[in-house]
């Protein structure tokens, strides 16, 4: 018995070194946020982070336990003279246990995830949401804000064209005073309800700090995405869906500012607007030929 005990000790040592090493490698990025999740900056992101840590905890335990058992078996049951293998075809009770427990865990996890998906992340956007239209094209983003009336107006994917990037309904007066911006300027702590469309191919609306991703699909007006930024600062919107030769550099700046600063920016922009349906983007043709 001392034989396997000593090799067990050896194996334990290797395992311990591995665990400490891996732990150190992970602890550093974990504490510095260098190679870990970027600091969350939205309300919904808090819940997503909780869920991620919950799954990390769950899968971490399963991983460590199965690997410890596995490595223990591999070391303990390596071929030794005069020790035959156990003749066993299995055990039905064990099969039932290790079918039932994972099933229960996975259904529970689904319930948790699905609750978050419906009741938090995709609940009806609050009435005080700031409406912003987001249009994507090869290779850039543009943002449309409601004018003084606070309404973006109706939009449909079938109206999307070079002259009407956001697909505004030409017959809807609410859209006449909308204005556009190349920067996504949003106030902190106020829900932002975005309406996404694409002019040509599929693009991705991805802001890691907000824990948000939604494809922008040509021919489809996607209006269920909303989020509430909670930190003032500059962020970047990255296109995360391969969209052609300029994909690698398709991005836009996001500025989350205080409510007062936003109001100032908004009033200036809204005043300067000439009412016209949608907004023509001259930059479209310029960037196309990159």
């Amino acid at each position: 018995m001392s034989f396997w005990r000593s090799s067990f000790a050896r194996c334990g040592l290797v395992l311990a070194i591995l665990l400490v090493g891996l732990g150190t490698c992970w602890a550093d990025p974990r504490t510095s946020n260098l190679w870990w999740m970027p600091e969350n900056a939205s309300e919904g992101g808090v819940y997503i982070d909780q869920l991620i840590y919950f799954i990390l905890f769950l899968t971490g335990i399963v991983f460590v336990l199965t690997q410890i058992v596995y490595i223990f078996f591999i070391v303990k049951y390596r071929a030794r003279k005069g020790v035959p293998a156990t003749y066993s075809h299995g055990n039905n009770r064990l099969e039932i246990i290790w079918t039932a427990i994972p099933t229960a865990i996975f259904i529970g996890l689904w319930g948790y995830s699905n609750h978050l998906w419906w009741d938090v992340l995709h609940s009806t956007p609050p009435a005080n949401s700031l409406q912003v239209g987001v249009a994507a094209y090869q290779f850039g983003f543009s943002f449309q804000y409601p004018g003084a009336d606070g309404k973006l107006g109706k939009a449909e994917a079938s109206f999307v064209s070079n002259d009407n990037m956001f697909g505004n309904d030409p017959s809807d007066p609410d859209a006449k005073d909308n204005f556009t911006s190349s920067v996504l300027e949003i106030p902190v702590n106020r829900p932002v309800h975005i309406r996404l469309d694409s002019k040509d191919v599929i693009h991705g609306f991805y802001i890691p700090q907000f824990r948000i991703y939604q494809d922008m699909v040509p021919g489809r007006m996607i209006d269920w995405v909303w989020f509430t930024p909670t930190k003032i600062g500059k962020f970047q919107l990255a296109c995360s869906q391969l969209c052609g030769s300029g994909h690698y550099n398709m991005k836009a700046d996001i500025e989350v500012v205080s409510q007062a600063d936003f109001e100032k920016w908004y009033q200036e922009k809204a005043k300067a607007v000439q009412p016209q349906p949608g907004a023509k983007l001259t930059s479209v043709t310029e960037t196309k030929d990159q």
Binding site: L34, W35, M37, P38, G45, Y47, I48, I52, V62, F63, T66, Y70, I74, Y77, A79, V83, P84, A85, T86, Y87, S88, H89, G90, N91, L94, W98, T99, P102, F106, I107, L109, Y112, S113, N114, L116, W117, W118, Q138, D200, V201, I202, G204, P208, Q209, R211, I212, Y213, Q214, V217, P218, R220, I222, F235, Q236, S240, Q241, H247, Y248, N249, K251
Partner: protein, 589 residues
């Protein structure tokens, strides 16, 4: 279960020795012998593995050393790929990414598992002289080979490789003006279509052979697990691949004949492509892992000298994966813009499909438990398969959870996940299986020492390459971005990117050890005995390599596939074709 009797007489095709000497062309080029076809598949897909690996090196070079000319060969590469100075261009990078994945999925892992081991093992393991349709089988290989040449030929067209990703999402892929390589994308469609025909021909063959040509006594529940895995895989192939072929044809029409199946500006449906692609694509994921699971199960049993733990549970788990595999495709599309309710449903089915994978893992642990483990190179790869598959499986749970997917979808987290399953899983299983069945294929043993060196280096560099990718993804790095340093929130990643790339180069080099061992052993390796691993299944009762027609006398099967260490026997294995001696206490199960 009724038992199929394939041959009434004892004398078989191989036994009657009536066949004349074949010409070189008929013996090696247009061969209808399943073993030769398997070896043809092996050579072809190892060649494609080299190409796919080189493409991956290009991808990793760009991510670590963006904008720097590729040393030595940079200036020789075509201009769609590199700048005049020899640095990779963004469009060229998109092409590299696209073709690396296309080659690895369609020309490497799928043919290695299904083409090589499906062809080689099915007839030998069930006691059949050949496949049910030998002509179809040869046709399948040559269609596959032609599809590979067509896919790779886009390297030589002026606009270069297709550049819309291996998933070829429409409408980017459906319009040459948008994706930048009309010709490359068209060749992709043709290549994938023909590749699909090859898969369908193979699948029909496997299903027919397994159902009709089992030796007397080879009941379904006496089939070795690789055969079960390949049987279920063949059914998946038959149902899933035609959908991809049809979609590829439609995409080709969109590209070249002005139809608009997928282009929104002309009332097509971009999301339809995704549904068609993933309806194929998700069963495909299981096509790429199930056979490896079967091969690994067998190696674990052989080298633990134990019956497989929970044989029937293993079979039922694979069948469950096969069925559920057809109703989970939407989990690739949680953020695609499809109805949110569908995401809920697909999330549920995806959570369920994790259960059979868990069952298999526990049964592998059970198989190793109480064993008498021999650490051959094949066993090392098989053992590491289980651990790598556990990591790949557990990381899949993150994506199955819809809210988490909002954050990590299309980041490097998913790249890490797929490589843990496809490289650490499938390819490690394949490496193990090659070391294991090489003696039967070529009549020589591979070098164990260099095999171990290959294993240790691959295992180490594999983890160093792909584990940090989880961190890159959680840090917010989108996949398929040619130059992450252009993004403020990705700038701090550069040291890790370089680390990953250097590890990837190490991984690439360590694979070369395998190639040298593989070709050297073919000529200089020690002669292989009939049964070098003391294994129970039928192929090991034949000479290495087996002759044309396989079995001189049709074997009769008396036992289950994994009767190792049966109490009351002198030797620790009971071959399937030998009745148990009086003294043996074989468990009835």
């Amino acid at each position: 279960m009724s038992q199929t009797i394939a041959h009434s007489g004892a004398e078989t095709h191989a036994g009657t020795a009536h066949h004349h000497e074949l010409s070189f062309f008929n013996k090696y080029i247009w061969s209808e012998d399943h073993k030769t076809i398997a070896i043809q598949y092996l050579f072809a897909s190892l060649f494609f593995l080299l190409i796919g690996g080189l493409l991956a090196m290009g991808v990793r070079y760009q991510l670590a050393f963006s904008g720097q000319p590729i040393p030595l060969i940079g200036s020789l590469l075509p201009r769609w790929l590199v700048t005049d100075a020899g640095a990779i261009q963004p469009q060229g990078y998109n092409g590299l990414v696209t073709m690396h994945a296309t080659v690895m999925v369609f020309l490497v892992v799928m043919p290695l598992l299904v083409g090589v081991f499906g062809n080689f093992l099915i007839p030998l393991k069930i006691g059949a002289p050949d496949m049910a349709f030998p002509f179809f089988n040869a046709l399948s290989f040559w269609l596959f080979f032609v599809s590979g040449i067509i896919l790779l030929s886009s390297f030589f067209v002026p606009t270069g490789f297709p550049a819309a990703g291996w998933t070829s999402y429409a409408p980017l892929s459906a319009n040459g003006a948008w994706n930048g390589s009309q010709a490359g994308q068209s060749l992709w469609c043709v290549g994938i279509f023909i590749n699909g025909l090859a898969s369908i021909a193979g699948a029909v063959n496997y299903i027919t052979t397994i159902i009709n040509m089992r030796a007397p006594g080879m009941k379904m529940f006496r089939l070795p697990l690789p055969v079960w895995a390949l049987f279920i895989t063949a059914i998946l192939l038959l149902l899933a691949v035609p959908v991809l072929s049809a979609a590829a044809a439609m995409l080709f029409f969109d590209l070249n004949f002005g139809t608009s199946f997928f282009e929104a500006s002309r009332y097509g449906q971009p999301l339809m492509w995704q549904h068609l692609f993933w309806f194929f694509g998700h069963p495909e994921v299981y096509i790429l892992i199930l056979p490896a699971m079967g091969l690994v199960s067998e190696m674990l049993a052989v080298f633990s000298r134990k019956p497989i733990f929970g044989y029937k549970a293993m079979v039922y788990a694979m069948a469950a994966i096969g069925v559920l595999g057809f109703v989970v495709w939407g989990h690739h599309m949680f953020v695609s813009g499809m109805n949110l309710m569908l995401s809920s449903a697909f999330s549920f089915s995806t959570m369920l499909i994790a259960v059979p994978s868990a069952i298999k893992t526990f049964n592998w642990l059970g198989t190793v438990w109480g064993g008498s483990i021999r650490f051959t190179t094949a066993m090392c790869f098989a053992l590491s398969f289980v651990s790598m598959f556990v990591i790949g499986g557990l990381s899949g749970i993150y994506m199955a959870s819809t809210p988490v997917d909002l954050f990590i979808h299309h980041t490097y987290f998913i790249v890490a996940h797929i490589h843990y399953v496809l490289f650490g899983g499938s390819l490690f299983g394949i490496f193990g299986a090659i070391y294991f069945w090489y003696p039967k294929m070529f009549g020589h043993m591979m070098n164990e020492f260099w095999g171990k060196v290959h294993f240790v280096l691959s295992f180490m560099f594999f983890n160093l390459t792909f584990f940090p990718m989880h961190n890159l993804g959680l840090n917010g790095m989108p996949r398929r971005i040619a130059d992450p340093s252009l993004y403020d929130f990705l700038k701090s990643q550069q040291p890790l990117q370089i680390f990953v790339s250097l590890s990837a180069f190490g991984l690439g080099l360590s694979t070369l050890i395998f190639f040298v061992n593989f070709f050297y052993s073919m000529f200089k390796g020690p002669k292989a005995p009939r049964n070098p691993w003391n294994s129970t299944t039928l192929e090991w009762t034949l000479p290495s390599p087996p002759g044309h027609g396989n079995f001189p006398v049709t074997p009769t099967v008396y036992n289950g596939p994994y009767e190792y260490s049966v109490p009351g026997m002198d030797q620790d294995f009971l071959p399937q074709n030998q009745p148990a001696p009086e003294t043996a206490r074989v468990a009835v199960h």
